[in-house]
Amino acid sequence: MTAVIFFFAAAFALGGALGVVLSRNPVHSALWLVVTLLAVAVFFIQQQAPLLAAVQIIVYAGAIVVLFLFVIMLLGVDREESLREPIPFQRPAALALGAIVLAEVLFLAGHQWATGKTADSLHNIKGGATDLGGNVERVARSLFTDFLWPFEITAALLVIAVVGSVLLARRSGQPAQASIEPPSESTVQ
């Protein structure tokens, strides 16, 4: 059963990723991105990270993709992209580089010298991949003890990002009007 769900979700994740890249229309790309994000959320649930699955859906599908669609509609850039290649051999070169990247990452995923141990053998550590039970409590404890200082810095990062996007969206030489950027992602975080 787990395997069936995994392979379904994997097909959706990879298919959605291909859809993002291959769609001519940016709106379709955004919708394919949602497919991939939901499939990754399924992976999170399977990996005993239900909190992250919820956050993934709320922040990514709820805030970030909506922001993408907002900007696409505001700017009216949902025209089809021309197939003309401005740089010769750009696509073949990109595909070749992509093949190299894939080979590298797969090599790293399966090899001991990169990860310390092969991923499969890690299941024997400390009684194996046991239940990360009480997931929210454990994540919160880690976030507010081990990562307290980085956590505070990300708060500053978000404030800087909001101020920056408001400043960018403002028409120069005019007083600040209704900002184009909805502050949704800052409130969700």
Binding site: A3, A13, L14, A17, V20, V21, S29, A30, L33, V40, F43, Q46, Q47, A49, L51, L52, V59, A63, I64, L67, F68, I72, L75, V77, E81, P86, I87, Q90, A94, L97, V101, L102, V105, A109, T118, A119, L122, H123, I125, A129, T130, L132, N135, V139, S142, L143, D146, F147, F151, I160, A161, G164, S165, V166, L168, E181, E185, S186, V188, Q189
Partner: protein, 104 residues
Amino acid sequence: MTITSTYYLVVAAGIFTIGAVGLLVRRNVIVMFMCVELMLNAANLTFVAFARALNDVRGQALVFFTLVVAAAEVAVGLGIIVAIFRRRRGATADDLDLLKDKAA
């Protein structure tokens, strides 16, 4: 059959590669941004897979920071895109060559 962490790592590698190739191939700035999101998601998936394999919840905590960076990046990036599109409509990434030496 049991699904081990390697399966998740392979899927994450696939998503990352598709995102990287998309970033190189596409010229629509917004779609390029979505490809960056794909790559960040692949990194998140790797974090969670290792968090489970190592039985260490800190991998899941790190995903939060990736999420925050992704949200901040999208906010600022889309702000820049809006500012650019207000000046010149329908610009692709290749048209934004203000810093290029035209004489060369």
